[in-house]
């Protein structure tokens, strides 16, 4: 392991990864990797998570292709230094900010979107000119093996390495010195990563999770809007990896008088999308492993929680499947309402008035996303200014992930740092300030021995009070 990292460091030192042509060739090679291996990727995702090709394309392959293409088209622009304004006082001078690679970076990815969460940060790291060690999650073993075997066939082995393994490998990697660590996962492990990074003063980006709520206020508008709302909620809960996604809708907030309407719409939509019951379940992923399966089943063990199930609830331990399940008002202090669910269970919490959603959300830690289905502009403004989350999406779910111009990241317990689009490039770069000055003219008052005149001169200069300076120099101002 240490040898691999030493090689990455050597490679970085040679400066090869800094060249734009190297970066472009790597990105193109990555695109080729994806294009030429789609079927294998679909197969691996089906094996690890039961994802169908359409879901795999929508959430992984397509997203990655889009990301590489966008990066390739913008790379030269991003790499170019940006001019910065210099006050007249320093004339003649030129100031700019130049992005530079950080060096050797470590990327930890998660099991639920094993390709996107591994390769999207990789795209950012390469575009910024770094050498990279990628450590995919062993909880998605087929995908991890695919990455370990296939990346060396397409990318520069001396600069991009993939390491297989579990938590022990992760721990060993964290003992070493990196120039940046990018971590996607749970807050618990996020703390460990940051604590390890602190020993080397390594900057980190932590993409964590939380309980992302969906506020529903559009059921009493038109029937078609209500239908679309239901579709988007279902699509935002069970669509991504059967709820095992950091941006999946965790729970729903709705006014109690509209709860039954919502539940009916959801039931209809679920049946249409995924089948009538657990035996005929289709178009949906499964739970990743026994451990997660057991965790989710345990959330339903609490009798008060079990009583609140209004749809679904059946499980198939052998196939690691839990059918889409809706709960109505489980106890607020139950585990299902205090931890991130990360699975196909959807609690619906009813409120007297939908505006109470704001206080409800604020009573929990900052989520990664807040979804709000509403057409009330005042309510929208209140949600924006009175809650805090990584992102807010109005009237839809999940699609914010596809916006390359929006930063993707959390706040508070949902993490810090961000990526996607140019933000990926930035997160793996150091923005170096550069100031060019000439030898002339000289500002004499900078130098000792200091006098009152010099002090006044510089005070005026610092305030950019050019007129005052002229007066001073002409003798019209007294010190």
């Amino acid at each position: 392991m240490e040898k691999s990292i030493a090689e990455l460091r050597e490679t970085f030192k040679t400066g090869g990864t800094k060249s734009i042509s190297w970066r472009k060739s790597q990105l193109k090679a990555l695109l080729q990797l994806i294009n030429q291996n789609e079927d294998s990727i679909f197969k691996a995702l089906d094996q690890d998570l039961g994802k169908s090709p359409v879901e795999s394309y929508r959430d992984e392959v397509g997203v990655l292709k889009k990301s590489v293409t966008y990066t390739l088209s913008c790379l030269e622009k991003w790499v170019a230094p940006k001019k910065a304004e210099v006050p007249l006082l320093f004339f003649p001078a030129k100031a700019e900010v130049m992005p530079q690679p950080l060096g050797v970076v470590l990327i930890f990815s998660s099991w639920n979107f094993p390709f996107t969460l591994a390769l999207d940060p990789l795209i950012g790291a390469i575009s910024a000119g770094n050498t990279v060690l990628l450590k995919p999650s062993d909880l998605a073993p087929a995908c991890m093996s695919f990455l370990v075997e296939t990346i060396p066939k397409y990318l520069d082995n001396k600069a991009v390495k993939v390491l297989a393994g579990g938590a022990d490998i992760g721990e060993r990697l964290l003992q070493l010195k990196w120039d940046k660590i990018f971590f996607t996962g749970s807050p618990r492990v996020g703390r460990l990563v940051m604590a390890a990074a602190a020993k080397h003063l390594t900057p980190v980006t932590l993409e964590l999770g939380g309980k992302s709520p969906a506020i529903v206020d559009t059921l009493s508008t038109t029937p078609s809007k209500a239908k679309v709302t239901a579709k988007r909620i279902v699509g935002g809960k069970w669509g991504p990896c059967t709820g095992q996604a950091c941006i999946a809708i965790d729970y729903v907030l709705v006014e109690e008088k509209l709860a039954s309407t919502l539940i009916e719409l959801l039931k209809k939509t679920i049946k249409r999308f995924y089948g009538e019951n657990i035996k005929s379940l289709k178009n949906i992923s499964r739970i990743v492993n026994k451990h997660q399966f057991q965790r989710l089943v345990n959330l339903l063990k609490d009798p008060d929680v079990a009583d609140s199930i209004v749809y679904g609830g059946s499980v198939d331990e052998e196939k690691l499947v839990i059918e889409p399940t809706i709960l109505l008002d489980p106890p607020l202090d139950s585990e299902i309402m205090s931890e991130e669910i990360f699975g196909p269970l959807l609690p619906i919490i009813t409120l007297k008035n939908v505006e109470e959603s704001i206080d409800f959300i604020n009573s929990k830690s900052n989520p990664l996303v807040i979804y709000a289905f509403t057409e009330d502009e005042t309510f929208k403004k209140r949600i924006l200014s009175e809650t805090s989350s990584g992102t807010v999406t109005f009237n839809d779910s999940m699609v914010q992930f596809l916006c390359d111009s929006l930063p993707f990241g959390g706040v508070g317990q949902s993490g810090f740092g961000r990526y996607h689009g140019k933000y990926s490039f930035d997160t793996f770069s150091h923005e170096k300030s550069i100031l060019h000055r000439g030898f002339y003219p000289e500002i004499e008052p900078r130098y000792p021995p200091w006098t009152d005149f010099k002090l006044l001169f510089l005070k005026l200069a610092y305030q950019f009070d050019y007129f005052g300076l002229i007066l001073l120099l002409l003798g019209f101002k007294r010190s």
Partner: protein
């Protein structure tokens, strides 16, 4: 609980007290007070007033703590702070506005923006060498971004620390901005609490402690540290101007006790003598024949640092390399500007950040070799400087030297340019501030996507069919031609 210690008549600030302080600030923050534009403006105006009305007291405190010349106090602490306040007041409206973000065909119809919001309750821990600037400049950023703040000034500048505590209590809103004075126990108590951001200015050792404490609460940090900022001096330059600018950045900045002070010089063997002679000439012009008598030099902050610097000077094989200066006065904690020529590269003075009035000059055969020397010297510094007229050398410097900030043909002044982010990389730190970067450092940039109900792409949803897959491929590619073709294919299928 605050326990009255009768013997010292001082309350003990422990973890409980820290918890109470944070709770009070969090309660204030939750009311939304600090988010209001008006609150931010009144606080910044109050700070300006505070600086205007207390300049003599601030200068006196800095003289007590550091023997800092009035000139430096007035300019590098007060003026720069005032400029920060003024800039924030002028630009804040603009900074607070949401930033529109482009959306693509993929999510059509939609609109997107990025909204800045305060992080919440933040902790600023500052250093002793520019006690006012490094305490209050981050506070300006935190206020402009709408946060509640605890400031912990350095106990190694005690007169400044207590003046800051008094002035902040007198002029700013104590329900939202508090100063906690103290040393290691008080800082530890503060670090145990959950903050929404911590900005720390200081050294690498303590920075690791700060970041480890922050990790427990997943608190993001900005660490403004230091390093050995090198100066490469080429030949064929205006030697007089270069020398003066190096002196201004070294001894003119708190007598070398500044994070961006030139730490050591690299020049060619041929040029070294000229350079040393130029230094001797200008140093005498600036500080007189006996620099220990000059009123224009700060003293060493305390006896610990005096001893540390003395050790660097007295190391065998180093002390014999002194070519100028070397005078000391232990009682007054003074060390004169001292220049060394060709100390061993593995000496202590070349291993750690000097942070004092000692300037080693290392010579190389060819000026291009400077880069290898810098890269082999360990951590990335906060700043790096080059004096040259050679375009190629400038380009190589700018492209290959990794540091927080670079300046060609001057030293330290980039600090005053608000459009440049000020921060380190690697061992010299992470994150940046100054100007709008201060506002950004204390803000969360929330992504907001607005969607309507029209245009619901049915192909997002199950049942998943191969036809949908083709269509999806086209939609995600964002290519309108691709989309039309796919749609046509769909209809004609």
């Amino acid at each position: 609980m605050l326990m009255e210690n009768k013997a010292e008549n001082k309350a003990v600030f422990d973890a409980e007290s820290a918890k109470e302080v944070v709770k009070e600030l969090r309660d204030s923050f939750v009311t939304g007070k600090t988010k209001s534009h008006r609150w931010r403006v009144t606080q910044l105006k109050a700070m300006l007033k505070m600086l205007d009305e207390n300049e003599p007291q601030i200068v006196a405190a800095l003289r007590d703590d550091l023997s800092k010349p009035e000139f430096e106090s007035s300019l590098y602490e007060i003026q720069i702070l005032k400029n920060s306040c003024r800039l924030a007041l002028k630009e804040m409206n603009h900074w607070m506005m949401p930033e529109k973000a482009k959306t693509s065909l993929t999510t059509f119809p939609s609109s997107a923006e990025i909204v800045s919001e305060p992080l919440g309750v933040v902790l600023v821990i500052s250093a002793w060498n520019y006690p006012f600037l490094l305490s209050l400049d981050p506070v300006v950023g935190a206020i402009s971004a709408g946060n509640a703040i605890v400031l912990k000034p350095s106990e190694m500048a005690p007169a400044s620390s207590s003046l800051i505590a008094k002035l902040v209590a007198d002029y700013l809103d104590s329900s939202c901005i508090k100063v906690v004075e103290g040393a290691v126990p008080e800082t530890s108590a503060l670090l145990e609490q959950k903050w929404d951001k911590i900005l720390y200015t200081g050294n690498g050792r303590v920075a690791r402690i700060v970041m480890a404490a922050a990790a427990k609460h997943l608190t993001p940090v900005v660490l403004e540290l230091g390093g050995k900022s090198p100066v490469i001096v080429d030949s064929n330059i205006n030697l007089k101007v270069a020398t003066r600018r190096i002196i201004a950045g070294k001894w003119g900045c708190n007598n070398g006790q500044a994070c961006i002070s030139p730490d050591y010089i690299i020049t060619t063997k041929d040029y070294a003598t000229k350079l040393v002679d130029s230094f001797k000439c200008e140093l005498e012009r600036f500080y007189g024949k006996d620099p220990l008598e000059s009123k224009d030099l700060s003293r060493i902050v305390n006896s610990n640092h005096f001893d540390r610097l003395s050790k660097l000077m007295d190391e065998e094989k180093v002390s014999s390399k002194i070519v100028h200066g070397g005078q000391r006065n232990e009682k007054n904690l003074q060390i004169a500007p001292t220049i060394f020529l060709d100390v061993p590269v593995n000496s202590l003075i070349m291993k750690e950040e000097i942070f004092g009035p000692l300037l080693p000059i290392i010579t190389v055969d060819k000026v291009e070799q400077s880069f290898d020397l810098i890269h082999s010297s360990g951590g990335k510094p906060l700043a790096a400087y080059l004096f040259t007229n050679n375009k190629k050398l400038k380009r190589k410097f700018v492209e290959t030297v990794s540091a927080g900030g670079l300046v060609v043909n001057d030293t330290a002044v980039h600090l005053a340019i608000h459009s440049l982010p000020f921060g380190g990389v690697g061992e010299s730190g992470m994150g940046s501030y100054h100007g709008k970067f201060s506002f950004d450092a204390f803000s969360h940039k929330k992504a907001v996507l607005y969607r309507g109900f029209a245009g619901d792409a049915f192909l997002r949803y199950p049942p998943y069919t191969p036809g949908k897959l083709t269509l999806l491929q086209a939609l995600l590619s964002g290519s309108i031609v691709g989309i039309i073709r796919a749609l046509l294919g769909w209809f004609w299928a």
